[in-house]
Amino acid sequence: MIEAFDLTRRFGTFTAVSQVSLRVPDGSILALRGPDGAGKTTTIRMLSGLLAPTEGNATVAGYDIRREPDAVRACVGLVTDVPGLFEQMKVPAYLDFFGSIYGLPASERTRRIDELLEFFDLATHRNEKMAGFSKGMKQKVALARALIHEPAVLFLDEPTSGLDPLAARSVRELIVGLKRSNRSIILCTHDLDEAERLADQVAIIRQGRIVALDTPSTLRKQATGETLVLIELVGECPLPLETLATIDGVRNPHLREKKATGSLSTVTQSPGFMLEYQTPQPKLVNPQVLSRLITAGAQVVAVTCETRSLEDVYITAMGDVGASLADARQHAMGDVGASLADARQQSIADAHQQGFSDQEQPTVPSIALKDN
């Protein structure tokens, strides 16, 4: 269990983390998301007993981070984006070194090392120095190091960074396994898809403050409160949009022509229309709309409900920062940087203006969110 209350950390006049409160129960994962420099690492360092908070407090695995930092460190495992290995050592010796520092008896160390080497597919490399390992293998060793003492709490900072898709998948499976074994995990990741798949809660941190914290589905709902419904029709819509708009709960109904698609090797679909509307209550509204359409003779091909993605929620949360990012980049990078920033700002603005209703979301340059 991790519980933090108003954690604040200042470095001189600079406030890196401000009044961060969170709770990660046993057997759950909290994903921490924010741009570089937002305060994620400082938060993790405070929670892992490496940095004392300036204000506020937290308990980790039942220990107070201010009064019992040694105990906190003994009960946590930390993996950073840099594996940080002593590369002239071989994996078993390296793990044995950390196992010894954690006070594990020799027999237990041997057992854990064998298990971890087996699990991470490193058993065949046990007699090799780590200097020759790939980034993925080094990251696996870092994970093994964090797990050697079977910690109650894990802090994972970009644990799948640099891993090949298969290795990343096995690490994600491991994280889920660790969660099921009742551990509390804080996961820092830039991969929102990973956050959504693994985390029970997502916290978005901006300029040292948590600006959003909830389950992924609630965050998405809170962002709009509405679901976008797309009904694919063969031919034209038999009902006028004004009639559909009279149904309680239907917002902004509109039609979009669906052009013929296909290629030489596939059957060409006939052209039709896509009816789109937004609703806060899809379970109540959709059956009514469909009933009216079918009664009027519409041929319905498919019905799709879309809620906003976490990416959209994140971009909304970062909205204010976007402007300052653009300004900073304009100063720092000159014309090229400015036009990139402008493009990003424009993309965000467009996305907001369209209420994310357009399926073809504007492309945001990936460089934009990673800079700070």
Binding site: Y63, D70, A74, F97, S100, N182
Partner: protein
């Protein structure tokens, strides 16, 4: 891997190794790294070759003069080289000490160590000890090789020309210098951001120390042997005080705050 379901709602239990045990673990790993470092080994090898050349080209000719003054001059020269060969092999090891914190920090190796339950004292003491012991080993090897070279090239009796009092003080001084230099370099390394800065500061201090020591060696004829003896004791006292002070004041938090 078997992942056992456990309840962590209450306080998690943990085991803790003793501070001494952790200190030795960190020190021994640090020593292994130092010994495995090829550049250090190469530098030490070059110094050994360099000192052999020195013995051949400068001590040999002075031994040709069999007068009392000539033999005394040869004895002083041998003592001078004794200090030189004691300090030279220790230099790259002191360089390694510069990297014990700053170098590890740059490579990202420090955070995993700092996040363990090891106490601040255990980490600092282990790192300093791990830097001091290889430096000391290099210095001892350098001195033994120097004595062996003189004995083999000019006969064991030549060693008797070494001024006894001064030679003993020099042999006593070398571990003190190594302790002081490596400890100082380790502590500087713990308080700067980069390995480069640590090396720059350590080298500067080392150069000043060398000048002071060689100056004392030359002046001992005027000041007397006691001045050199005071310097030896002073180096030990300062080194020990310095280490104790560092152990008391060093905090992992400062290291993390600087990252």
């Amino acid at each position: 891997m078997n992942i056992e379901t456990q309840s962590y709602t209450a306080r998690a239990t943990y085991k803790k190794a003793s501070t001494l045990q952790i200190t030795w673990l960190i020190a021994s790993r640090q020593m292994l790294e130092a010994i495995r470092d090829r550049s250090t080994l190469m530098m030490s090898g070059i110094f050994l070759i360099f000192q052999t050349v020195l013995v051949l080209i400068s001590i040999g000719p002075t031994l040709q003069d069999h007068t009392q003054a000539g033999l005394s001059k040869a004895g002083f020269l041998m003592a001078f080289y004794l200090l030189f060969v004691g300090l030279m092999p220790a230099t790259p090891a002191i360089g390694i000490a510069s990297g014990v914190f700053a170098g590890d920090k740059e490579r990202g190796c420090l955070t995993p160590l700092l996040v363990t339950p090891a106490s601040n004292t255990a980490i600092l003491a282990g790192k300093v000890l791990g830097a001091v012991l290889p430096a000391l080993a290099y210095a001892v090897i350098g001195i033994l090789v120097y004595f062996a070279e003189i004995a083999l090239l000019y006969g064991p009796a030549t060693l008797a020309l070494l001024p006894t009092g001064l030679s003993i003080l020099i042999v006593l001084l070398i571990p003190g210098i190594v302790l002081f230099g490596a400890a100082l370099a380790s502590v500087i390394s713990s308080r700067v951001r980069t390995f480069q800065s640590a090396q720059n500061f350590s080298s500067l201090i080392l150069v000043v120390l060398w000048i002071g020591l060689f100056g004392l060696l030359f002046l001992q004829g005027i000041l007397g042997l006691w001045a050199f003896a005071v310097a030896v004791v002073g180096v030990y006292v300062v080194a020990i005080l310095f280490i104790v002070l560092s152990a008391v004041t060093w905090r992992r938090e400062e290291v993390m705050a600087r990252q």
